[in-house]
């Protein structure tokens, strides 16, 4: 029983080992780059969401008209 359990755990443990080795070797963004990414993509995400929300807001009365 204990053997089977250990074997079942072997695969995830190997995954974690390989995965963390890969992450350790990765090039990571510097703080400056990180802030830039957050600014650029965050602004884009929020802008897209707000525009979509505006469309939905316009959309609600139209829904009542046509359905």
């Amino acid at each position: 029983m204990a053997d089977g359990f250990e074997k079942a755990l072997e695969v995830p443990v190997d995954f974690v080992k390989d995965g963390s080795a890969f992450v350790r070797k990765c090039t990571k963004p510097s703080q400056k780059e990180y802030v830039q990414i957050i600014k650029a993509v965050g602004a884009g995400f929020i802008a897209m969401g707000v525009i979509g929300y505006g469309i939905k807001l316009v959309h609600i009365p139209i829904r009542y008209l046509i359905v």
Partner: protein, 569 residues
């Protein structure tokens, strides 16, 4: 400017497989089944050439289609109300809006694409992707399956369950003439079928149109895979709407603002107001806890974890290992080929959830069909009659397989249906944090299967889509490119190892995020946000690559000048 043409992660698009091996086929192929449909099936024509379609045009197509998609979430004509919602967990991720034409959202398209990709990737069907006609057939097969699946899901939900409550518009008109009760009953039944057919027809036609629209973006008019782009756009709209919507709606608690931040602002304002007046006491903590946990609208918990996930993802998605590469023919400086941490993008999560979504549809429809329709219950009666000696055993087996749903019924507009028993209920996300702790077996089984599915797709997608280490190495050897300081023979081995490790670590992170969010009872929104951010980054990557290649002739060059370094290689 890149001189060596490096493939830009072909793995992150669903519908265009790249390097598949040639297979000679001797016998009948499944692909031949599409041939008769090929001429009847409408098809989006490829743009004459990429040069004809300017960068700005493609941007316009993408934005226009995203806007169209938001507009298209219309309520279904002749439906008065819908029953409690069994698919709440999957709605943000698949852009499936309850009670609208988008009832299943992008699920049919994603399921169809992924199903055939899976079969061809594991060589269960023969497709020769080097031949143009085969590629065409394969695309038609995916399209046909998507349209068919949309019809099947809609049929199951409309005719086999009582999910929709149709109005009786037709019956009202006939009532004048027929007064006897028996005739009334006949009219009711027939009109009911007519109305149900009307609902089914709307769902079917909309899904057909959506399939075609997604194909527009898939075929070079957009920047990334169409279905993924629409998911990304829709999640950002859903999330922002949940945060800033200032319209109110009546829930179980009274009138509430839909937007979490607006509601929070009102609570804080009321608390301040009650500080200075002795008459009205506002229950500040109760209000905050309710906002944190409310299940009818987007709650504070989802937004909070969404923001945490987003900040984490912004950091993690930039992780990559740069492999130094060099052309063997032209003397150039060494360049780097980045192997990203999220090598498969968001696809593993999307595929894992599409499996669970399909399972949910199946169990919901079979439960409703067997318990609440005359046809279904008589079928059960026949089966039980067959095993007269052990009918109670058979009954309990059927119950175990089919399971049971129950709904929270405090408010029909927001009520949700939860599966309470049966095998499939173990593959249902915990409904809340306390629910997760109280049902440890359910939680463990669900988490393990979700993580297992995500890991499986993370590891196998590269092989299925033709972007595994071997395929990348083949591509490089064709282009006469080699890794700096490695012999040609070792290139494939090297890429295999590095890409496999990238898939493992990326898959582990995605699986951990998805499991944690479901464990906390976030009901899918933060996970959808994770997916959408990965999609947006993938979009921006190809956007800026194209922007560079368009050579400054675009409107957007001035707007985004200098930012391409963030996303380019």
């Amino acid at each position: 400017m890149p001189i060596i043409n490096v493939p830009h992660h072909p793995s992150t698009s669903i519908s265009s497989p790249t390097n598949q091996k040639y297979h000679t086929m001797a016998k009948f192929r499944l692909l031949d089944l599409v041939k008769p449909f090929q001429h009847g099936l409408p098809e989006i024509e490829n743009p004459v050439s990429k040069a004809h379609l300017s960068f700005d045009d493609r941007m316009l197509y993408s934005i226009g289609i995203a806007i169209f998609f938001v507009f298209s979430q219309l309520p279904i004509y002749s439906v008065t109300s819908v029953n409690s919602d069994p698919f709440y967990q999957f709605r943000p991720l698949f852009a499936a809006e309850r009670g609208t034409l988008d009832e299943f959202g992008l699920l049919p398209i994603i399921t169809a694409g992924f199903f055939w990709q899976f079969l061809s990737g594991f060589r269960l069907i023969n497709v020769n992707f080097n031949v143009k006609s085969d590629r065409g057939y394969f695309q038609s097969l995916q399209k046909l399956t998507a349209i068919f699946l949309g019809g099947v899901y809609a049929f199951a939900l409309v005719f086999l369950t009582d999910y929709y409550n149709p109005t009786s518009k037709f019956a009202g008109a006939i009532d004048y003439n027929i007064s006897s009760t028996t005739a009334d009953a006949v009219v009711n039944v027939s009109s009911n079928i007519g109305e149900k057919f009307l609902i089914w027809f709307q769902l079917f036609v909309y899904n057909f149109l959506l399939t075609m629209i997604v194909e527009i973006l898939d075929k070079d008019y957009g920047f990334t895979s169409g279905s993924l782009f629409l998911i990304g756009a829709n999640v950002s709209v859903t999330f922002m709407t949940g945060v800033i919507d200032f319209t109110t709606i009546k829930t179980g608690k009274g009138y509430e603002y839909r937007g979490v931040f607006i509601q929070l602002f009102i609570i804080v304002k009321n608390a301040f107001g009650s500080l200075f007046s002795s008459s009205s006491k506002s229950n500040f903590f109760y209000e905050i806890v309710h906002l944190f946990n409310r299940s009818s609208l987007v709650n504070l918990k989802q937004v909070l974890f969404g923001v945490i996930a987003a900040t984490l993802l912004f950091y993690l998605q930039a992780f990559h290992q740069a492999v130094p590469i060099k052309s063997k023919q032209i003397k150039t400086q060494a360049q780097s080929y980045p192997v990203k941490l999220f090598f498969n993008g968001a696809l593993p999560i999307i595929f894992a959830y599409s499996v669970l979504f399909n399972l949910k549809i199946f169990s919901y429809v079979s439960y409703k069909f067997l318990n609440f329709t005359t046809l279904g219950s008589s079928l059960i009666a026949i089966v039980i009659a067959q095993f007269e000696s052990s009918s109670s055993l058979v009954q309990s087996i059927i119950k175990l397989i089919v399971g049971e749903f129950s709904s929270d019924s405090f408010n029909p507009t927001f009520s949700k249906a939860y599966q309470t028993s049966g095998i499939a209920s173990y593959f249902q996300a915990p409904t809340s944090f306390t629910g997760a702790i109280l049902n440890p077996i359910n939680t463990v089984v669900y988490s393990a299967s979700l993580a297992g599915l995500i890991m499986f797709f993370a590891l196998s997608w590269t092989k299925m889509s033709g972007s595994s280490g071997k395929d990348v190495a083949d591509f490089f050897s064709k282009q006469n490119i080699t890794i700096l300081g490695k012999r040609d023979a070792n290139v494939a081995h090297y890429f295999n190892k590095i890409i496999n490790n990238a898939c493992i670590s990326g898959g582990l992170i995605l699986a951990a995020l998805a499991v944690i969010f479901d464990f906390l009872g976030c009901q899918g929104l933060p996970t959808a946000l994770v997916v959408s951010i990965l999609i947006i980054f993938n979009f921006l990557e190809s956007f800026f690559t194209e922007l560079q290649q368009s050579g400054g002739s675009s409107l957007y060059n001035t707007a985004f000048g200098g930012q391409d370094k963030l996303f380019g290689q």
